[in-house]
C-alpha cells in the first residue's frame, strides 16, 4: 500500500523531503499555549497544568517546557478549569465538558453542558434542565431533571445551582429551593494587590515595590510565614504551592503571570520563565545583519597589513578546526564527523543568519534565525502609554549583502493615540529607541516606500488628506509615490499619488460587496525573472510582468439562493484599471491569494461538493499592445482547507519555486511549480515537446503526501502567516511559519546544490591528502632503492 502510494506520487508530483538525520539541523520550532488564563499545580511534583482560551497544556514544573498539549477549535473559550488533586484529573469546560488524566488522555466527555464543577461528590454536570453527578471516571452517581432551566453553578458544596429566577439546592435525594446563598469568593483583587489562596491554608499577597519588583508575603492563618522579592510587577494571575524541600524546610513556589510571561519563583529567585507573546504575531520582517568586514581606508600598506592579519587569523582557525576534526575522528570513528554549522549572532557568509523583527499586540521582538530572542521591548515601555492602535513596524535602513562598511539596521514603529501619531525610531540590533516623536496628525495609515538597497522611506497618511514623508538620514525619495486606500464602509478603493507632499486622488474603484482579501507582489525581491516562456512547439509566450498590480477577492452572495460567488479582480495600482476579472460560481471563502511574477494563486471552497480548490491563473501579455492580457488558468482539488499561502524566494530565481500551503491540520504542504503548471495537457499523455519541458498529464488532485510537508512531523497550530526570505546562497530560502506556534526552516527546494554535504569530513580529506603525499615519497624512495639494486646486479 505504501509502495503503491509512492508510485502514484512519482507519476503525479515531485516530492521534496529531507533526511531524518537533517531534521532539527536547519530548523527549530517553538510551541506556545497562548494568553494563559488558568493554572493549577498537578498532584505529581513536576506537573503544572495551564490553559489559555482554547489550549491546555502540562508544563514540567522544573524546566518550564511543555510535556503535552491539547488544542481545541479557535472559537472555543474555556470557562472552567479545575483540577482534582486526589485523582490527578483535570476537567475543562467549553461547550463540552472534558475530563483528562495526567498523561493528557481524554477519559470521557459530554456535550451541551451549561456549567460544571468539581465537588466532593464528584463531577457535577449541569445541562439545560438536567443535573448529573458522576465520579471522576465517568460512572453516574445520581441525576435529577428539573422543570426550570439551570443557568449555572453558584456553589460547589452544598451544591447550589442558579436558575432563571432563583437558586436551588441539589442533593442526592432531590432538588429543593435554597434559602440563602453565600457565593464563594475566588481570586479577588484588593486595591492593587493580588491575593491568592490555596486549599492548604496558605495565601500570599503580592505588593509591587517599584517598576520591576514585587514583594511576596506568605500567610497562614493570619501569621506571616515568609517574605521575599520577585522580579515581576503588575501580575494578572498568581498561584502559590507549598512544598517541603530536600532539607525538610517549608518552601513556596509562586507562579506569576505578568504581561505575556509566565514565571515560577521561589525564595531563591526565578526558576523558569515562559514568554507566550510570540503566539500572536501581527507583523514580521526579515532584516539582514551588518557586515563584519570593514573596507580599510588608508594607504596600500595599511590595507595590506590588515589583509595579512585577517588571513593569518583564518589560517590559525583552519589549523585548529583540522586538529579538532582529527581528534574527533580518532575518538568517534569515521562516520560521525559532522561539521555543525554554529550560527554565531553576527552575519554568516551564506546569509543563514538574519533577524526577524516581530510585532505582537503588546511588544516588539527581535528573533534571530537560530531561534534565540535577541531582545524584546513592550510598547508600553516605548510609547509610555497603553492606549494605542495597532502598531506598525517599518524597516527604514537595512544592511545589504555587499556593504562596504557595517550598516546598523533601523526600524520605525508607528502608532496612533487619539489624535496624535507616535513615531519611534529604533536600532534593530539592540532594540534601543533612539527617537520618539509625537505629531499632531490624525493617522489613518502608514507605509514604507521601497527605495534602493532594501530601505524604506516612511510615509504617513492622515484621514484629512495630508501626507508626511520621513526620509531619514540615508534615503531620498526620487520616484513618484502611488498608493491606494481601502475604504471599508463604502467598499471602495481610492488611488492617490503624492505631489508636493499632498496626496492627489487619481482613481476610484467601487465594489458592490465587501472585500475578503488582497494580494500584492513581494517588493523587489526577485529582480531576476526570466521573462519569456518558450513552448516547445516554437510559439513564444511573454509573461505579463507588472509589479504594480494587486488582486482583490470578493464574496458576492447570489440573489436567488443562499449561494455565493467568488469574484477576483486584478487591478493596476497606478492607473486603477482592472486588468483581469474572473468569477467562480457557487464558491465561497475563506479566500487566500498569492501574487507572484505572473502567477495568481487562489484557494477557495466550491460549495456544491464542499471541496477546497486551488486555482492557478497565469498572465501572458497579449501581442496587441493594450491592457488586455492573455490568460491561462487551471484548477486543482486540495486535500484540505488552506489557511494561508506563500512561496519560497531565492536571490536569483533559478531554484525551483515551492508554493507553501498551510493546511488546517497544522501542517504546511509544499507544492512544486510543475504540479500547478497551467499548461499541463488534459486527458492525453504529454507529447514529446511537453515531456521535455517536464509537464505531466493533468490530474485534478493535489495529494497530501507526507514527504512533501515542509513541517515534516511537527505541527504548527492555527497558522496565521508564512514569511519567506532568500539567503545569499541560491539554493536556500528561510521560511517562518507562525500562528499559535512558530516554526522556522532553511529549505532548499532543489536540494543544496551549492553547498557541500553536512557530512563532508574535512579531516578525512586532510588525512587522505597527507597519506598520499607520504605514500608518494615512500614509493619514490622504494623505487629508487629497487632501481639501485637492479643497477648493482
Amino acid at each position: 500500500m505504501k509502495y503503491s502510494l509512492i508510485l502514484f506520487c512519482t507519476f503525479v508530483c515531485v516530492v521534496n523531503a529531507i533526511y531524518q538525520r537533517d531534521a532539527g539541523k536547519n530548523d527549530w520550532s517553538k510551541e506556545f499555549i497562548g494568553d494563559i488564563k488558568h493554572a493549577a499545580f498537578g498532584c505529581d511534583k513536576k506537573d503544572l497544568l495551564v490553559g489559555s482560551d482554547n489550549v491546555i497544556a502540562n508544563i514540567n514544573l522544573r524546566t518550564g517546557k511543555i510535556t503535552w498539549r491539547r488544542v481545541f477549535e479557535s472559537k472555543e473559550v474555556i470557562r472552567r478549569f479545575e483540577y482534582a488533586t486526589a485523582t490527578c484529573n483535570l476537567i475543562t469546560l467549553t461547550n463540552t465538558l472534558r475530563v483528562w488524566d495526567k498523561n493528557g488522555l481524554l477519559i470521557w466527555d459530554d456535550n451541551n453542558v451549561v456549567d460544571a464543577a468539581l465537588t466532593e461528590e464528584g463531577v457535577v454536570e449541569v445541562k439545560k434542565e438536567f443535573v448529573r453527578v458522576r465520579s471522576i471516571t465517568g460512572k453516574p452517581i445520581y441525576n435529577h431533571t428539573s422543570s426550570e432551566e439551570f443557568t449555572g453553578i453558584l456553589k460547589g458544596s452544598p451544591l447550589t445551582l442558579s436558575t432563571k429566577q432563583s437558586a436551588v439546592l441539589v442533593t442526592s435525594s432531590g432538588i429543593s429551593k435554597a434559602s440563602s446563598v453565600n457565593v464563594e469568593e475566588g481570586h479577588k483583587i484588593v486595591q492593587g494587590e493580588l491575593v491568592t489562596a490555596t486549599n492548604q491554608g496558605y495565601y500570599a499577597k503580592l505588593n509591587p515595590i517599584d517598576e520591576t519588583k514585587s514583594r511576596v508575603v506568605v500567610h497562614s492563618n493570619e501569621n506571616k510565614i515568609e517574605e521575599f522579592n520577585i522580579n515581576a510587577t503588575q501580575a494578572t494571575l498568581a498561584f502559590i504551592r507549598p512544598y517541603t524541600s530536600v532539607d525538610n524546610k517549608q518552601q513556596f513556589n509562586i507562579l506569576v503571570k505578568h504581561d505575556d510571561q509566565l514565571s515560577l519563583y521561589n525564595r531563591s529567585g526565578l526558576i523558569w520563565s515562559r514568554d507566550e507573546g510570540l503566539s500572536q504575531i501581527k507583523g514580521l520582517t526579515f532584516v539582514e545583519l551588518p557586515t563584519q568586514t570593514q573596507a580599510i581606508q588608508g594607504n596600500a600598506i595599511v590595507s595590506f597589513e590588515a589583509r595579512l592579519e585577517k588571513q593569518l587569523e583564518t589560517l590559525i582557525s583552519l589549523a585548529r578546526s583540522t586538529v579538532d576534526g582529527l581528534v574527533s575522528l580518532v575518538k568517534n570513528g569515521l562516520k560521525s564527523d559532522y561539521v555543525h554549522r554554529e550560527l554565531n549572532v553576527g552575519r554568516d557568509e551564506f546569509g543563514f543568519s538574519k533577524i526577524m523583527l516581530i510585532t505582537t499586540s503588546k511588544s516588539v521582538y527581535a528573533v534571530h534565525t537560530n531561534g534565540q530572542v535577541l531582545w524584546k521591548k513592550t510598547f508600553h515601555s516605548i510609547f509610555k502609554t497603553s492606549d494605542l492602535s495597532d502598531v506598525k513596524l517599518i524597516v527604514t535602513n537595512s544592511p545589504q549583502q555587499h556593504d562596504e562598511k557595517p550598516v546598523t539596521p533601523e526600524f520605525v514603529l508607528v502608532a496612533q493615540r487619539g489624535n496624535q501619531a507616535l513615531v519611534a525610531t529604533g536600532n534593530g540590533l539592540i532594540g534601543d529607541i533612539t527617537n520618539l516623536e509625537t505629531i499632531d496628525f490624525k493617522l489613518k495609515d502608514s507605509f514604507g516606500v521601497p527605495v534602493e538597497n532594501g530601505n524604506n522611506v516612511l510615509v504617513l497618511v492622515s484621514s484629512d488628506n495630508q501626507v508626511i514623508i520621513r526620509h531619514g538620514t540615508h534615503n531620498t525619495l526620487t520616484k513618484q509615490v502611488y498608493f491606494y486606500v481601502h475604504d471599508k464602509p463604502t467598499n471602495s478603493l481610492q488611488g492617490y499619488t503624492i505631489i508636493n507632499s499632498t496626496p492627489v486622488p487619481i482613481w476610484t474603484v467601487q465594489f458592490h460587496h465587501p472585500i475578503q482579501s488582497f494580494a500584492h507582489h513581494a517588493t523587489k525581491l526577485n529582480k531576476h525573472v526570466y521573462t519569456n516562456t518558450i513552448q516547445h512547439d516554437e510559439t513564444e509566450l511573454s509573461k505579463y510582468l507588472n509589479p504594480n498590480t494587486f488582486s482583490v477577492a470578493l464574496e458576492a452572495p447570489t440573489s436567488s439562493s443562499s449561494d455565493s460567488n467568488v469574484e477576483i479582480y486584478l487591478i493596476d495600482s497606478i492607473t486603477g484599471t482592472t486588468i483581469y476579472h474572473t468569477l467562480y460560481e457557487s464558491s465561497s471563502g475563506p479566500i487566500n491569494m498569492l501574487l507572484e511574477d505572473n502567477l495568481l494563486l487562489i484557494t477557495y471552497m466550491y460549495n456544491k461538493p464542499k471541496r477546497y480548490q486551488l486555482s492557478a491563473i497565469e498572465l501572458y501579455s497579449n501581442q496587441i499592445p493594450s491592457h488586455a492580457v492573455n490568460v491561462k488558468r487551471t484548477s486543482f482539488i486540495l486535500p484540505s482547507a488552506v489557511r494561508t499561502i506563500s512561496s519560497t524566494r531565492t536571490t536569483l530565481g533559478i531554484t525551483s519555486k515551492l508554493y507553501l500551503l498551510a493546511l488546517t491540520n497544522g501542517q504546511v504542504l509544499s507544492v512544486n511549480q510543475k504540479t500547478i503548471d497551467t499548461r499541463r495537457p488534459r486527458g492525453v499523455a504529454p507529447n514529446p515537446n511537453q515531456a521535455e519541458e517536464g509537464l505531466l498529464m493533468y490530474n485534478p488532485y493535489i495529494p497530501l503526501i507526507s514527504q512533501s510537508l515542509l513541517t515534516y512531523n511537527k505541527t504548527v497550530h492555527e497558522v496565521s502567516r508564512i514569511d519567506t526570505s532568500p539567503s545569499y546562497l541560491e539554493s536556500t530560502c528561510h521560511v517562518v511559519v507562525s500562528g499559535l506556534d512558530m516554526f522556522y526552516i532553511r529549505t532548499a527546494p532543489s536540494k543544496q546544490f551549492d553547498l557541500l554535504n553536512d557530512d563532508f569530513s574535512f579531516s578525512l580529506l586532510v588525512i587522505s591528502t597527507v597519506a598520499l603525499l607520504v605514500a608518494t615519497f615512500v614509493v619514490k624512495w622504494m623505487a629508487a632503492k629497487r632501481e639501485l639494486v637492479r643497477l648493482w646486479k
Binding site: 505504501k2 502514484f8 523531503a17
Partner: protein, 218 residues
C-alpha cells in the same frame, strides 16, 4: 367526525415530525496504539464552515456530537499514522447513518485518486489506520558496491590491474629484449635529435656510457 379529527392529528404529527432536524451523535472506535493517543489524535469535522475538534479518548473511542443530517467528512490528525478520511451520510428521515473510508487510490481511472470503501457501523464504527506516515526521504543503506560504481574508482582499479598483471602475462626474456630494443631506438632518436643541434648532446653521451655497461653485464 372523530375519524376525521384522528386523521387530522396524525397528519399534523407527521408534518411536525418532518420539520424536525435530526442531529446525531456519532461514536466510533479508532484502533491505534496508546502511545499515539498520548501524543494526541484529533478528530475534526467541518459543519457549515466551522471545524468541530475533539480528541480520541483513552480507550480509543471518540464521539462527535450533534451532527446534522447530510454528508460529513471526518478527518483524523495523527502524527505517526495515516488514518483515512471517513465520510458519514446521515439520513434525514430515519437517523441511520452509513460510513465510507476514503483512501487515496493508485489507479488513475477511478475518481482520480480516491476510493470509497464502505465500513460497517454495526456494532460500532471501527476505523483502522492505513499506514505509517513517512516524512523523510529514505536513506540509502551504506552500500560498499556504490563506491565501485564511481568512474574514478573503476579507472584506478582497472589501471592497477593492468599495471600489475601485464608483466606476468609476458615472457620475461621477451620483455628484456623489448626493453633493449626500446632503449636502442631511444638512443637512435636521441642521436637524431642531437643531429638537429639540440641540447641532447650530454644526455646522449651519458646514455652511451650507461648502455655499454649494461651490455657488458649481459
Amino acid at each position: 367526525k372523530l375519524f376525521n379529527i384522528l386523521c387530522l392529528c396524525v397528519l399534523i404529527c407527521f408534518v411536525a415530525a418532518q420539520d424536525e432536524v435530526i442531529y446525531k451523535d456519532i461514536t466510533g472506535r479508532l484502533h491505534i496504539s496508546k502511545e499515539e493517543l498520548e501524543i494526541g489524535v484529533r478528530v475534526a469535522v467541518n459543519i457549515n464552515g466551522d471545524d468541530r475538534v475533539s480528541y480520541v479518548k483513552a480507550d480509543g473511542t471518540f464521539t462527535l456530537y450533534e451532527l446534522p443530517a447530510g454528508t460529513h467528512y471526518i478527518d483524523f490528525y495523527s502524527v505517526n499514522y495515516l488514518i483515512p478520511q471517513i465520510r458519514i451520510d446521515i439520513s434525514p428521515k430515519t437517523g441511520k447513518y452509513r460510513a465510507f473510508a476514503i483512501i487515496p487510490s493508485t489507479n488513475g481511472q477511478d475518481s482520480y485518486g480516491v476510493t470509497q470503501t464502505p465500513i460497517s457501523v454495526v456494532p460500532t464504527l471501527n476505523i483502522k489506520p492505513i499506514s505509517k506516515n513517512e516524512y523523510f526521504e529514505r536513506e540509502e543503506p551504506f552500500d560498499p558496491f556504490s563506491m565501485l560504481k564511481n568512474p574514478m574508482a573503476i579507472t584506478l582499479i582497472v589501471g592497477l590491474g593492468i599495471a600489475l598483471l601485464a608483466p606476468k602475462l609476458v615472457d620475461p626474456e621477451q620483455m628484456k629484449e623489448l626493453q633493449a630494443s626500446m632503449s636502442q631506438s631511444e638512443s637512435e632518436m636521441k642521436s637524431m635529435m642531437s643531429g638537429f643541434g639540440l641540447d641532447g648532446n650530454k644526455a646522449v653521451e651519458n646514455k652511451n656510457q650507461v648502455n655499454p655497461q649494461v651490455k657488458k653485464k649481459q
